[in-house]
């Protein structure tokens, strides 16, 4: 018997084989995900500049609560979240339903065109947006030619308009990405359901609210969670279009972390603390979204 020779039972052997197959993944994930996460948590209890770090217990967390700049970045990020995510989700839903219409011509072209923004480089599109929305940029000159505005809008240097610019930019970049999820989900809805609804005399709007949206619910939940996480980690657009200005009006949490680590004299301990605040917020929001929209099992 083989088992006698190696001293292992067949069950133990198959277990060992199974473990050895996932060993690489386990080691890699432990080394590149869990180890840094634990290190960052430890780091968040230290203060000091550069490599002069000392343990100071929870002082960073106390500082976090009274840090005006952090609170500004938090509220900015939530403004993006509250305005941009619903707008984008609705827009993506609307566009995907339109593009799912089998009678529409050039469907492939439209789908590609709307999906394309999300494969462009974050930095490249941010830089292009910055020039489009400059005081003497294309957007302003277009709006002035059309007599919609009299004076150029200070898209980048006015606190209010800078936020709007960021929202427009991320909506442009990510709507197509969400649309793809809805499109693929829409194809899985049996057309006979719509047929039955039409025979019963349901209007298009009724069909949309009573059939499409409920059937897409798991996908809507998925996209809203990923969009929420994405928005909470917003960095490239803010960094490249407004640098967080004017006067922190567009500063996102991620950019604040960057500033603490690299723009100011490096304070990695406090930067790690701010990073962990995002982790906590994302966990809380995801739980909330599951509770509100998830299936009750």
């Amino acid at each position: 018997m083989k088992a006698d020779r190696t001293g292992l039972s067949i069950r133990a052997k198959s277990n060992l084989t199974g473990w050895s197959f996932i060993l690489i993944a386990v080691v890699m994930i432990a080394a590149f995900y869990f180890y840094p996460m634990v290190q960052a948590l430890i780091l968040s209890f230290k203060t000091g500049t550069g490599s002069n770090l000392t343990y100071t217990g929870g002082s960073n967390y106390v500082r976090l609560l009274s840090d005006k700049t952090f609170l500004t970045s938090l509220s900015n990020t939530f403004i993006y979240l509250i305005i941009q995510v619903p707008v984008m989700i609705l827009l993506a839903l609307f566009i995907s339903v339109l593009l799912n219409d089998s009678k529409l011509k050039f469907r492939g072209f439209f789908r590609t065109a709307i999906f394309l923004p999300c494969v462009t480089s974050l930095v490249a599109y941010s830089v292009v947006f910055k020039y489009l929305f400059a005081a003497d940029g294309l957007v302003n000159s277009l709006l002035m030619k059309l007599s919609i505005i009299q004076e150029p809008i200070q898209w980048i240097t006015d606190p209010f308009w800078a936020k709007i610019t960021i929202i427009i930019a991320i909506t442009w970049r990510w709507t197509g990405y969400n649309m793809i999820f809805y499109l693929s989900a829409l194809q899985n809805i049996d057309s006979s359901i719509y047929e039955a609804a039409r025979i019963d005399g349901a209007s298009s709007f009724k069909q949309f609210t009573k059939i499409t949206v409920p059937m897409l619910k798991p996908i809507i939940l998925f996209t809203s969670i990923t969009s929420t996480i994405g928005t909470l980690q917003l960095f490239d657009e803010v960094m490249n279009i407004t640098k967080g200005g004017p006067g922190n009006a567009t500063l996102s949490i991620s950019q604040y972390i960057y500033n603490l680590s690299f723009k100011y004299t490096a304070d990695f301990g406090y930067a790690a603390t701010v990073s962990y605040s995002i982790v906590v917020i994302i966990v809380l929001l995801s739980i909330l979204q599951f509770k509100v929209a998830g299936d009750k099992k």
Partner: protein, 438 residues
């Protein structure tokens, strides 16, 4: 069982491959540092990081050539990164505890120098025996030294001047002499007249960059921090208050063309949208880039603060200096700096003629390149003028948190522009700075 062992072994090989691959990339990214393995012998190959190809990199190339003539064996790698990238790489490299991938010599802005020197003790090589600090402009010694030891070789002076469009000024009914040795109050008045007559703004400013405030307060010997370089000095700082008030006055007089970044700043200058540009001398190559405006520009002394008695017509904006990292190769790197930027008067003449880079080595100021007239600026001996102003720059202690405090001030400046009281704005900034800067 054999299969399991084979699989396990192959995993190990794969992991080992990964880790050595990761490690191997570091020196490659830095441009290579031959000295890693053999720390006993003196390394002949050094790597230098700097930003700005037209200014610092060009200066390095001249220094490299000068050094190679005396030391033909030396191999010098010059690597260009954006300043923000250098700061990032230095911080992450020094924090990771491994010196692999770090350069031997690095350029650091004076505002940030103390932050690096104090945050990473022992990371920088003591140059005290190699260069004499008294050979350089006095105001450069504060940022480049720590606890009596000289760590940096002072380089780019950062001395400021007011670049002026003669034609606009004359159209507004003034002569260049009317703009010489004025204060900022008079500057704004002239700005209003220029705007009225020519429709051009007097200045272009980025609301996210308080460089002009820094120029104003240093001209009065004042800074965001008290002399110890640690205590925030915002609420009771008379020069800062005056600078804030002048900034607001300028904004409300409607004589400012707002820009959002560096490229718009340069575009505003080159397109002829502004009548003056008060800034560091490093702008010279960018101004001269628009050759069609030759002869229309002049450089005058920077205005001073009207009410601060200490204020002079000279200040600094964003100068930088060279630092040697305390890693194998430091000896060679220190020798390179000592022989070139630390003492070579002849090389400085070359730097001026070919790059327009004004250093801070006192002895170099006597050279003939300093007296050379610049036709772009109507035959003005601009380097001579800058050298005179360099000597007058008040010495201040930048401390370690210039940019952290500036971000606080930018917010309070916006609040002040929107109607908040000046004393309230500055005391709020003081409170926040005290909580943040420790």
């Amino acid at each position: 069982m054999k299969k399991v062992i084979a699989l396990f072994l192959s995993c190990m090989v794969l992991l080992a491959g990964c880790s050595s691959g990761g490690g191997g990339q570091e020196p490659a990214a830095s441009g290579g540092n031959s000295s890693g393995g053999d720390s006993g012998s003196k390394a002949e190959e050094i790597t230098i990081w700097a930003w700005d190809p037209a200014f610092n990199i060009a200066a390095l190339n001249i220094a490299k050539e000068a050094y190679s003539q005396k030391n033909p064996d030396a191999k010098i790698n010059i690597v260009e990164f954006a300043q923000a990238d250098i700061i990032q790489k230095l911080n992450t490299g020094l924090n990771s505890g491994t010196t692999k991938g770090l350069p031997n010599i690095v350029l650091i802005e004076d505002y940030r120098a103390q932050g690096f020197l104090q945050s990473y003790p022992d990371a920088f090589y003591d140059l005290s025996g190699k260069v004499r600090s008294e050979d350089f402009a006095d105001y450069k010694i504060g940022p480049t030294s720590l606890n009596g030891k000289q760590y940096g070789v002072p380089f780019d002076s950062g001395v400021t001047g007011m670049y002026v469009r003669k034609d606009y000024i004359e159209q507004a009914g003034y002569t260049l002499d009317d703009l010489k040795n004025i204060d900022w109050k008079q500057y704004i008045e002239i700005g209003k007249a220029v705007k009225e007559k020519t429709g051009k703004d007097i200045i272009t400013l980025d609301p996210n960059d308080l460089g002009i405030i820094r120029m104003m307060i240093q001209s009065a010997g004042s800074w965001y921090l008290a002399e110890d370089g640690k205590t925030p000095d915002l609420a009771g700082n008379a020069a800062l208050k005056e600078a804030f008030e002048l900034y607001k006055e300028m904004m409300e007089a409607n004589v400012v063309k707002v820009n959002a970044d560096w490229s718009q700043f340069i575009a505003n200058i080159n397109n002829g949208d502004v009548a003056t540009v008060p800034t560091g001398n490093w702008i010279t190559p960018s101004v001269k880039a628009e050759a069609s405006q030759a002869g229309q520009w002049a450089i005058l002394p920077i205005p001073k603060l009207p009410q601060s008695p200490n204020s002079v017509h000279a200040t600094n904006l964003g100068g930088s200096s060279w630092y040697v990292m305390n890693i194998p190769g430091a000896e060679t790197a220190a020798d390179f700096l000592a022989q070139t930027f630390g003492s070579d008067v002849e090389m400085y003449q070359n730097l001026l003629t070919n790059v327009g880079a004004i250093g801070t080595l006192k002895a170099a100021a006597a050279g003939e390149a300093y007296a050379k007239p610049d036709e772009f600026f109507g035959g003005q001996q601009i380097v001579n003028d800058f050298a005179v102003w360099t000597a007058e720059i008040p010495k201040v202690n930048y401390g370690i948190s210039t940019y952290a405090i500036e971000d606080i001030l930018i917010v309070e400046m916006q609040n002040y522009l929107n109607g908040k009281g000046i004393d309230q704005a500055l005391s709020d900034a003081q409170a926040q700075a005290e909580a943040q800067v420790k």
